[in-house]
């Protein structure tokens, strides 16, 4: 399992990104206040790991625990029950996050805890409006306010924009394109490809022709030498 230092590094990054994103908009902060004091546990079963998110009006904290650490926690800490627990495999969570028409009920994720709070959480998270591109642009601007970063920012953001907005479409297109090419190749070109058996048959036939030619050449040489002897 990944060490504590690495896990802390990852959760710091996620927390920092979330905190920057949420604090950029007063309306997002207001929406999050409705979850103040509550916590959410996301259990990823196929990796024996869970992320716990603590919602707070000042901070949103994230903790990454292994299943073993959570069991110890429960042994020693009476109030370690989470307000909401979502338990599923990684692919279930990814589908839920990436496919807009995918709902929790269809996802295979098991939800437990306060139903009212779960509905509130769902409504809050889906209504959060985080403009990642604008955030990154603002960060670039604050780093060097005196420089004209417009051309650099555009240049930096162009690939990012591509990734964020069109990455999925491009990846899908690329996959289909390659897939079509392979199908076309197999359909039209495969007829021209020689199989191993065909090649071996051809090689054998060639050898037979070569042997026949050698025999014929030998006979011709013998015939010619006999003829020249008689003439003498």
């Amino acid at each position: 399992m990944l060490g504590p230092t690495f896990r802390s590094f990852i959760t710091s990054l996620i927390e920092f990104s979330l905190s920057q994103a949420l604090s950029s908009s007063a309306s997002n902060l207001e929406k999050l206040k409705t979850l103040d004091g509550h916590n959410l546990c996301i259990e990823i079963k196929d990796f024996d790991t869970q992320f716990v998110i603590y919602f707070d009006s000042q901070d949103t904290r994230i903790s990454w625990q292994t299943d073993e650490e959570e069991k110890e926690e429960q042994e020693h800490n009476q109030d370690s029950d989470y307000d909401i627990r979502l338990s599923g495999n990684l692919k279930d969570f990814l589908s839920l996050a990436t496919q807009k028409n995918h709902s929790l009920a269809d996802s295979g994720i098991i939800a437990s805890g306060s139903i009212g709070l779960l509905e509130k959480l769902q409504n809050t998270l889906t209504s959060l409006d985080i403009d990642w591109e604008e955030l990154i642009y603002q960060k670039l601007e604050t780093l060097a306010p005196d420089l004209d970063l417009q051309p650099s920012a555009n240049l930096a953001l162009a690939p990012l924009s591509f990734l964020f907005k069109q990455g999925k479409e491009k990846a899908t297109y690329s996959f289909h394109s390659v897939s079509n090419q392979i199908n076309e190749y197999l359909r039209f070109e495969s007829g021209l490809i020689v199989s191993k058996q065909e090649f071996e048959k051809f090689a054998n036939q060639t050898n037979q022709v070569r042997q026949s030619v050698e025999r014929l050449e030998a006979k011709l040489n013998a015939f010619l030498s006999n003829n020249s002897t008689h003439k003498k």
Partner: protein, 249 residues
Amino acid sequence: MSDKEKTHFGYEQVDVSKKSERVADVFHSVAAKYDVMNDLMSGGTHRLWKRFTIENSAARTGHKILDIAGGTGDLSAKFSKIVGKDGQVVLADINSSMLKVGRDKLLNMGVAGNVEYVQADAQSLPFPDNHFNCITIAFGLRNVTDKDEALRSMHRILKPGGRLLVLEFSKPQNTLLEKVYDGYSFRVLPLMGKLVANDPDSYRYLAESIRMHPDQETLKSMALEAGFASCQYYNMTGGIVALHKCIKA
């Protein structure tokens, strides 16, 4: 233990009664540049170690937390936000210079209202029995003269079910890493101390005191001897640092 009995101050043997004075001198000297040096020496990794400590604290709104040898207040600042206005954080340190730096830093960060500052010796903590939900001591235990006494004192003031978190330098778990770490500790750290803090001796003491500190299993045994019902440790960065989590029954 008589005053003339000896104990270690790094690799040097000193009278037991003199150790705390010597340690105090070190921390009076390093207090002003403590945070900068921590970042430089660990490449910022100490923040991740402390973060893991906080994640293991099970701290909640309304809890009472004691941060011993809290020094410049890294942990206390985070705990203050977690426990909220109904909770309490006590930042305790035996060294007045470190405490002053910590208090000024937290006030400058706007952390106030639920934090108290106490100059106290970890060996005889001036708090009631069964008082705190959680006690932390980050990179402080190795400087304590009588560690067993300190552990017993911490055990007394913890609530039943409460936890003690000891974050401290420990023994690397890999021979190659140990060699690299030795080279880094004894050559690079004093040089950094000289260039940044103009105090190579204090950082030489740091390297030496780490080598004299009990290893993971020994510290675990000491905690259990002190009365804790359970103690387990997590190695971080190859065992260079370990977090001991001890629970009071």
